[in-house]
């Protein structure tokens, strides 16, 4: 009898300590893609690190209440990337060389600021709050341009203006849930204006047979596909419906457009294509990875099944998967 009780209690305690699939996924991400010094490694891009990766790492750490990893990631980001003459982050770091491009990447700055705000709130850390405020101020003052009365996030401080009045932008840099949080904590009306301009661009810039957004856009007297980048809906643009879903801003008609594309791909190829050419409507010749699929599960409002760890050895795929999972959890909670 006593033995049975002991065994029962042992089993109970063992069950209660079993990590959830999401936590396992996070642990696997840390093991595969975060170095001991706090550098997020993009193994799909020659092992470099970038501000976007640091931003994703920080977001995951705060979601999973992993203060220690957050602090390590933040320290590395400050030491190695926040070395410009402002509070923005150099976007690219190459091992054994250091920073190889001091230009910032606006999505990285936005993601890091958002993570810091969440960390400040969750762990009552005023230094994170101050750090976020500094980044927000420099984003406001350095990265925003006006275009036809709309506020536009430039991809970086330098470049992306091919001629006066001709801007190249990436709509996936509008991290909508982050902008909502910025509007809540920072009194500037700019953030709501950015949300409005992002929605305007999303609703207006539709291309191809399935009226999808593009990875890169060109703004001059009208909105067109960027002439300098591939005219595709792909791994960049998939984050647009991801962020919109996260912020509960994805309208049902647009949801249907994305799902129609997925259906067409399935019907024609037997798999979900991660890329569509918006000029000739052709698909990619390979299937989407686990992260892309998870994002589609989010769009389709289906429960996200996290992939086996062994199947998800790509930094970006794993990041998309965790992003989609967290987006689903947080958008349900709102």
């Amino acid at each position: 009898m006593i033995r049975s009780l002991l065994l029962f209690f042992l089993l109970l305690s063992a069950c209660s300590k079993q990590p959830s699939p999401a936590q396992k996924s996070w642990q696997a991400f840390k093991q595969e893609f975060i170095s001991i010094e706090g550098r997020v490694i993009d193994n799909g891009n020659k092992g470099i690190s970038h501000s976007e990766g640091q931003g994703y790492g920080l977001l995951f750490a705060v979601y999973f209440n992993d203060q220690k990893t957050f602090a390590t990631l933040w320290d590395w980001s400050v030491t190695h990337l926040q070395t410009r003459n402002d509070y923005l982050f150099s976007w690219q770091y190459t091992p054994n060389q250091g920073v190889t491009d001091v230009n910032n990447a606006s999505d990285g700055d936005i993601l890091i600021a958002w993570a810091l705000l969440q960390a400040a709130q969750r762990w009552h850390n005023s230094s994170y709050q101050q750090a976020a405020n500094n980044i927000l101020r420099d984003i406001r003052n350095k990265l925003i341009k006006n275009w036809q009365g709309h506020k536009i996030i430039m991809p970086a401080e330098q470049g992306f203006i091919t001629q006066p009045g001709k801007l190249t932008i990436n709509l996936s840099y509008w991290v909508f849930p982050a902008l909502q949080e910025f509007a809540r904590v920072d009194k500037s009306p700019l953030w709501q204006k950015l949300i409005n301009s992002g929605l305007y661009l999303f609703n207006t810039a539709e291309f191809g047979q399935w009226q999808l957004p593009a990875d890169w856009l060109q703004l001059d007297d009208k909105i067109t596909l960027s002439s300098e980048r591939p005219p595709v809906f792909g791994y960049e643009a998939i984050r647009i419906p991801l962020y919109l879903s996260w912020a509960n801003l994805l309208p049902s008609e647009k949801r249907k457009q994305f799902l129609a594309y997925a259906q067409a791909s399935q019907n024609q190829l037997g798999y979900l294509s991660p890329k569509a050419n918006l000029l000739n409507n052709s698909f990619a010749e390979y299937p989407a990875n686990a992260g892309f699929i998870s994002t589609y599960q989010l769009i389709a409002q289906k429960p996200i099944g996290l992939a086996n760890i062994s199947q998800n050895k790509d930094y970006y795929s794993h990041s998309l998967e965790l992003l989609a999972f967290i987006a689903q959890q947080q958008s349900i909670a709102q």
């Binding site: 003459n85 402002d86 500094n134 101020r137 406001r140 003052n141």
Partner: protein
């Protein structure tokens, strides 16, 4: 940037109050005909000096300076190092500030700033440690503390005898910049003085404050006199923030005078003793900003912490002009401070929790920089051109109306309040060769700091305008909160516009009095309410007393 700041301050403090020009050059090594100069004895023989026309400071780590220094000099630098060597022309000197690491270079630069007395009589100095005496954050020895009595000798005055040839003697001291002078607060001076005999009865000791006549003491005792504590009171508001001078001038004409008459003045003597005292009243530190005249006189509020910990200088661009301009400014501030500002922060990044100077070309400014400024400087300029003054309309409150109704003879205070008027003009134009300085609150919340923005359009002339600004002719004319000037001694114009705020703490009594003066109606209602409440309580108490002790007595019984 920090090194340049320390070096500029060091030079400024050595020159006391004089201004100087700065030039920034990249030091270059001689590469041609190097073999011909190898045998030369000059330790700086590899340094390109053809463009050097004045004293120079060469600063950097030993690794950074490696190509510029001869081997025998390089090998000396094993730690924080100061050296002085003759330049090749113009009798100029080259000061070398170096070390093996950036921290050692900073130590050497700080030593250069703090070592105010003579350096050792040698070319090299190897610094081990620098222990800076912790300055009291908000006081210096030469600034008086309200509420204290000082003997004249505490302020550097020695017993002096005034005679006809000496004209006057002076007592000098510095007042804090941020005192709130209440209407009846006085500075009390008790003079210990003796004066001689046989003057004319109209002899006087004239007392001036900052060259303005304040009081006279009639020296009317023919037999002379002696006082231990002759008391005079001067309103504290007479004194300026910063430097003040009280002058004592004895006018002692002889009794005997006239044409062809022998007149002797050896009796015209007055001695003022150093144990005379001056008492400064207890006053709140509470003052209105922005005010460039406070910056001019005392560097307030930027120098409210004497180690510079309240001062930040943000550079919005990396033009040489902006960098030199910021060093010129901090050099001037260190002269006003009479000490280096080691904790002052200079940065290209935004700085929090400090009073700031923001310096940069107009096209590099952040929108946030001007969020609370009375001027806008984005693509177009919005500027408040002065349109004279008007008397502020005074609305009579219920209190004042009541007072006049009940006491028609009484006259409530009706001081005229002048309000500046502005015409806001929005236009598209360059600043040309002008520079613009504007001071304004940093935010609308309770933790306001002061921002002072200095901007320009033409980098080629900006340094010259900053150099002109710190010259006494322009600097001493700073006033209001907006200044525009160019490289011309007569060009400075100032005006006042935008929001003001108070900085400092005042007593609860003064806060309540101030609040009462702004919201008299509310306070009147509160007082009436309290009176009614007390009346009600009294009535209830009386009622109970009557019930208890006189329950059978009617109220109307006589």
């Amino acid at each position: 940037m920090q090194w340049g700041s320390l070096v500029s301050q060091a030079i400024a403090l050595r020159l006391d109050y004089k201004t100087f020009k700065l030039n920034l050059q990249q030091a270059t090594a001689i590469t041609k005909h190097k073999d011909q100069i190898l045998s030369n004895q000059d330790p700086l023989r590899f340094l390109q000096q053809s463009k050097l026309n004045s004293d120079a400071v060469l600063i950097g780590t030993s690794a950074e300076l490696a190509d510029l220094l001869a081997p025998e000099l390089k090998h000396k630098i094993k730690g924080a190092y100061l050296g002085v060597y003759p330049a090749q022309k113009n009798n100029a000197q080259i000061i070398i500030i170096s070390g093996t690491t950036p921290d050692e270079v900073t130590l050497a630069a700080k030593t250069f700033a703090y070592a105010r007395n003579a350096f050792p009589d040698t070319q090299d100095m190897f610094i081990k440690t620098l222990n800076i005496q912790p300055y009291p954050i908000s006081t210096r020895s030469n600034i008086i503390v309200p509420g204290l009595t000082y003997q004249f000798k505490d302020l550097g005055f020695t017993t002096r005898t005034i005679h006809p040839k000496s004209k006057y003697v002076s007592l000098t001291f510095n007042m804090p910049s941020d005192l709130y002078h209440e209407p009846k607060s006085n500075v009390t001076i008790k003079l210990a003085l003796n004066y001689g005999a046989a003057f004319r009865s109209d002899s006087v000791l004239n007392i001036r404050v900052n060259d303005i006549f304040e009081k006279a003491i009639n020296l009317d005792n023919e037999d002379g006199d002696s006082f231990q504590a002759y008391t005079i009171n001067i309103p504290s508001s007479t004194f300026e923030p910063g430097f003040n001078k009280i002058s004592f001038e004895a006018v002692m004409p002889p009794v005997v005078s006239g044409d062809c008459t022998y007149m002797q003045d050896k009796n015209s003597l007055l001695t003022l003793f150093e144990n005379s005292t001056i008492l400064f009243p207890e006053l709140d530190h509470y003052t209105q900003l922005p005010d460039l005249s406070l910056l001019k006189r005392t560097g307030f509020p930027y120098l409210s912490a004497t180690n510079g910990s309240g001062l930040g200088i943000v550079l919005r661009d990396q033009n040489h002009a902006t960098l030199l301009g910021s060093w010129q400014l901090i050099a001037k501030l260190s002269q006003i401070n009479r000490a280096p500002l080691p904790e002052a922060k200079l940065s290209f990044k935004s700085i929090n929790d400090r009073h700031l100077f923001i310096i940069g070309a107009r096209n590099s400014l952040y929108d946030d920089d001007l969020a609370h400024a009375p001027i806008q400087l984005s693509e177009n300029i919005t500027f408040p051109y002065s349109a004279g003054h008007a008397i502020q309309e005074k609305h009579q409150s219920i209190y004042q109306s009541l007072e006049q109704l009940l006491f028609p003879e009484s006259k409530s205070s009706n001081n005229a309040l002048l309000q500046p008027l502005h015409t806001q003009i929005n236009f598209n134009a360059s600043l040309g060769s002008q520079a613009l300085m504007v001071s304004y609150p940093s935010e609308t919340g309770i933790n306001k700091k002061l921002n002072t923005l200095i901007t320009y359009d033409n980098p080629a002339v900006f340094y010259a305008t900053m150099y002109r600004l710190v010259q006494p002719e322009l600097w001493n004319k700073l006033n209001n909160n907006i200044a525009i000037w160019k490289d011309d001694a007569k060009s400075l114009e100032t005006l006042s516009a935008g929001k003001t705020f108070y900085i400092g703490e005042t007593t609860l009594r003064n806060k309540l009095a101030y609040h009462f003066s702004l919201h008299r109606n509310y306070w009147l209602l509160i007082i009436l309410g309290l009176l009614l409440f007390v009346a009600f309580l009294s009535h209830q108490a009386l009622k109970r007393y009557k019930l208890k002790y006189h329950s059978n007595t009617s109220e109307y019984d006589s």
